[in-house]
Point group: C2
Chain length 191, copies 2
DNA sequence: CGCTCACGTTAGTGACCGTTCACGTCCCCT
DNA sequence: AGGGGACGTGAACGGTCACTAACGTGAGCG
């Protein structure tokens, strides 16, 4: 019983291939026909599955934000000790960044291309995810105040999300412990 | 005698405003007319100063890469001790990222939109800049091999380049020491 | 003065692209 | 059997946009 469904629906195929293309060429650098071709159908067939090109992007980015927030909240619910929680958050986020580099890339490059409603939705989810980190950082005593905690959290994201830049050259199993150690050291660092 | 020229040429105006617009909306999300309007002329006047929209982007990205490489090589020439050199590189890069967040954003988001020749040029310059860091990291004993050093360097860039995400909310003079301390800790971290 | 050249302007033009339309096909369900 | 819905196709449409063309203007200068 595999953790990934054996029969990948057309919808999911489209989402996966679109993510790859968006990551490589940017939202506006990819055409509807291009996405269709990548999944073996052509052109306007996408409109059987998504309301528009922007709607496709919206589903992608909302999905990512929800996944991250859910993972963060799950760890926060399981772990009371803030230092331990940070450790779990680092492991979770690093794992995601290493296994889904395209999603990471699209997430912070093409947010601006979302229609207003979806963009606000994603921003809200992202803010909530950041708050999980900020709360842990404050409770752990690693940040003087929330502003500093936010800077630290974003810096850690930047660090862990660097994988799309150095991956391809590097196997995930060698990069992972390195990134985890670096993120931990950065978050613990006294200024 | 100001360090910034009093009379900003039209060319420079265009480069500055285009950087702001590209950072906010992405290369394909900004029209020639939009750039013109931002500098008070309209539309195709740009072609008096740049051969094409892609040429404008090329000049921008090549300029950034050259600036970073020059700064890195300068520090490397002045400093023999590798740990000290890393300190200088961190200060240099953090300062750039904090004061030019738009350039940082465009640099790693719109590389793919360059024509082939310019893109290879920029990639070469970036590689050379990374090599300055990799060399220092290896000599300092902070990385087991060049592969690990490259991962570390990219992770540090991601950390320092996070400023566009958390800036706007945060004054540079409070973020700077924090980012420097985090980058140092991350680079020194034992795995 | 009159030539030139740097710098603008407005009005096209051709290409691309998101989206819609009219139509076909195959499977499922009563 | 047959009807309907899910899914796909190719053709057309409308808008946007990079880029070009034709033209204007004013400053430097012999």
């Amino acid at each position: 019983m595999p953790s990934v469904p054996v029969t990948t629906s057309r919808r999911e195929q489209i989402l996966v291939e679109a993510a790859r293309l968006f990551a490589r060429h940017g939202f506006h650098g990819v055409s509807i026909d291009g996405i269709g071709a990548a999944v073996g159908v052509s052109g306007p067939a996408l409109y059987r599955h998504f309301p528009s090109k922007e709607g496709l992007l919206a589903e992608m980015l909302v999905g990512i934000s929800e996944h991250l927030l859910a993972g963060g909240q799950e760890r926060a619910a399981e772990t009371t000790d803030p230092v331990e929680l940070l450790e779990a958050l680092i492991a979770f986020h690093t794992d995601f960044a290493l296994h889904q580099p395209e999603l990471i890339t699209v997430q912070d490059r093409d947010l601006a291309n979302l229609p207003d409603a979806a963009r606000h939705r994603v921003r809200g989810l992202q803010r909530a995810y950041v708050e999980v980190w900020v709360d842990a950082l404050c409770r752990a005593g690693f940040a003087a105040n929330e502003e500093a905690a936010r800077v630290r959290a974003h810096a850690a994201f930047g660090l862990m999300n660097s994988t799309p830049r150095s991956a391809g050259h590097t196997r995930p199993d060698v990069a992972a412990p390195l990134l985890v150690a670096m993120a931990r050291a950065a978050l613990h660092a006294r200024v």
